[in-house]
């Protein structure tokens, strides 16, 4: 690809350094911005330069515009229940469901010494402090169902005071899914972690 403008060439280079964006797509995006009549490029450049101001919430380590994020400061949320997740993406995914009204705590990964991540490399100390200070009553562990994920849950459970209730998110057969199509591992786990059935349970 030979581009007659160095400016456009540089812009294409920047776009194509994004994950999932090839050179062809990058060129298409840049040409779109060039032809755009609504100052989209200006708007974007302003927004992009502001990204530097984004920080991490002092309390839950989620992304935030202020010292403490909007979820942590919201009066509408239940402060006694904290959902422990690996990453910011998990917070966004759970928020999208609209089913959770407690607070979060982002660990920043899971324990894996092979990858150089020990307990001290994660936001664990701040979680323990929060539990005391904030009077947390329940922790929901929304962590990958892998051996390392389980190790992380086990470790956390060992470190927190015994009066705090710990639960893990249910892992099992998809709602509306038929049992014969579930793989045996998922099905086995669903049976092991079965839940009591009541009439109230029947409603979503």
């Amino acid at each position: 690809m030979n581009i007659s403008s160095k400016i456009v060439e540089d812009a294409v280079k920047s776009f194509s350094s994004l994950p999932g964006v090839g050179r062809k797509t990058a060129l298409r995006l840049v040409l779109h911005l060039l032809n755009d009549k609504y100052d989209l490029a200006d708007e974007m450049s302003l927004g992009l330069s502001k990204l530097k101001e984004v920080r991490f919430c002092k309390q839950c380590h989620n992304i935030s515009d202020n010292d403490v994020c909007e979820i942590c400061t919201s009066q509408a949320r239940n402060r006694q229940t904290v959902c422990v997740v690996e990453s910011i993406r998990d917070v966004i995914a759970i928020e999208e469901t609209g089913y959770f009204s407690g607070l979060y705590h982002v660990l920043g990964g899971i324990i894996s010494p092979l990858n150089g991540i020990g307990p001290e490399n994660l936001n664990i100390r701040s979680l323990l402090e929060r539990i005391e200070r904030q009077g947390v009553e329940e922790l929901i562990m929304a962590i990958s169902p892998t051996i390392d994920g389980d190790t992380t849950i086990y470790y956390l459970t060992r470190m927190i005071p015994s009066h705090v209730k710990v639960s893990t998110i249910a892992r099992g057969v998809a709602f509306g899914g038929e049992l014969e199509y579930a793989d045996e591992f998922t099905l086995g786990r669903s049976i092991a972690s079965r839940v009591p059935y009541t009439v109230q349970n029947n409603q979503l």
Binding site: I111, S112, P113, L114, G116, G118, P119, E120, I124, I147, D148, D150, T151, Y154, Y155, R158, M159, D183
Partner: protein, 371 residues
């Protein structure tokens, strides 16, 4: 169980090979390095999704090609099965059973049981406790898939524990994590210990009987399982060794320290056993595994015999073949460099069989006729 047909493409030195097999004996003859063993290893792949020789998959791709593919038609309890295993040099190994992709390779293990006896076993059994454990794990995994899953989980945890120890950190939270690994490893270690213990106890009488038949000398062979888990409490031992582990930077407690000791007339084999004794011992151990697998699974495993007649005189070969058939082997695949020896041996006992003469990765003769 039977393998009726195999189609091998770009595997080791086998460019493109299609073979129909006999339900009882199939013999591959030819000089060393021509590809006989590779055919056995291709069968091993179809059964266990991997090489018997623990080589990296990629190294089994024919030089200059970018994939290998092996497909086979099995009959198991009168049901037909088609297995395809593919390995692209760049990408993931995949396995297809009856047209359906298998998500995890481990789900295939045990469906088509196999025992391979190769000269390398002699070395393995002497070499290290790790190699001896591998020989046991290979059989137990085929009998009980839960065993293999426990073992994989245990090894993953052990790897993480060792990585934490290697980092040299010793804070309170690191110690707490090491204890977490111990507590998570404990139930897995107990399961594995119990299974290995039971396995060796069941294998022992079969092994002793077979050794005395093979060795033909009145010598008494024995095998004994050793594990730290046989006495005391696992967690207590881990706690006691924690400081030591941190100093040595490796885990000193667990089933990864298990071993099996072999003796002949109460002497350890590593010290004195002759080549002949060693060969008899390995054959007895491996054949015992075959008998065990046959007993524990609902089908007769396929047996792969690589060069087992090597350095045996005619009488011993005859004797060994007799024994093999007394144990009611199912389908046998056997290699030999000595064409005359193998043909005579099977003809003498009036056995129907197919034979293939292999040269440079291709079949140049089948059952006496040019290919």
């Amino acid at each position: 169980m039977q393998l009726n047909k195999i189609h091998i493409t770009n595997f080791c030195n086998l460019k493109n090979l299609e073979l129909q097999f006999h339900p009882s004996v199939n013999a591959f003859v030819g000089n060393n390095g021509m590809g006989k063993t590779n055919i056995l290893d291709a069968i091993n792949y179809l059964c266990l999704t991997r090489s018997n020789f623990s080589r990296t998959d990629k190294f089994n791709v024919l030089h200059g090609e970018n994939f290998f593919r092996i497909s086979g038609d099995f009959t198991r309890n009168s049901k037909k099965n088609h297995v395809v295993i593919k390995l692209p040099v760049e990408g993931q190994k995949s396995l297809e059973l009856n047209g359906k992709d298998l998500e995890r390779m481990v789900d295939h293990i045990g469906k088509f049981p196999v025992v391979m006896i190769a000269p390398k076993d002699n070395v393995q059994i002497l070499e290290s406790s790790a190699e001896r454990r591998k020989l046991i794990d290979k059989v137990l995994s085929q009998v009980n898939i839960a065993y293999l899953k426990d073992l994989m989980a245990y090894n993953k945890l052990l790897e993480q524990r060792n990585a934490m120890l290697k980092s040299g950190q010793s804070s309170g939270s690191v110690k707490a994590l090491l204890e977490v690994y111990d507590e998570k490893m404990e139930p897995l270690a107990k399961h594995i210990f119990l299974q290995r213990n039971e396995f060796i106890e069941e294998l022992k009488p079969i092994f002793i009987r077979l050794y005395s038949r093979i060795a033909h000398s009145g010598e008494q062979a024995e095998m004994e399982y050793f594990s730290q888990l046989s006495v005391g409490n696992f967690i207590e031992k881990c706690r006691k060794n924690l400081e030591k582990d941190m100093a040595l930077k490796r885990s000193s407690t667990g089933i990864h320290k298990d071993d099996v000791h072999f003796t002949i007339n109460q002497n350890a084999i590593s010290n004195f056993a002759s080549q002949g004794q060693l060969k008899s011992l390995v054959l007895a151990f491996k054949l015992a595994q075959f008998v065990y697998l046959k007993m524990k699974t609902d089908t007769t495993p396929v047996i792969l015999l690589d060069d087992v007649f090597d350095k045996l005189d005619r009488d011993r070969v005859k004797h060994l073949v007799q024994l093999l058939f007394e144990e009611q082997l199912g389908q046998v695949f056997i290699t030999d460099t000595d064409e005359q020896r193998i043909l005579e041996t099977f003809e003498k006992i009036n056995f129907e069989f197919f034979w293939f003469k292999i040269k440079d990765g291709t079949v140049i003769q089948r059952n006496g006729t040019e290919s």
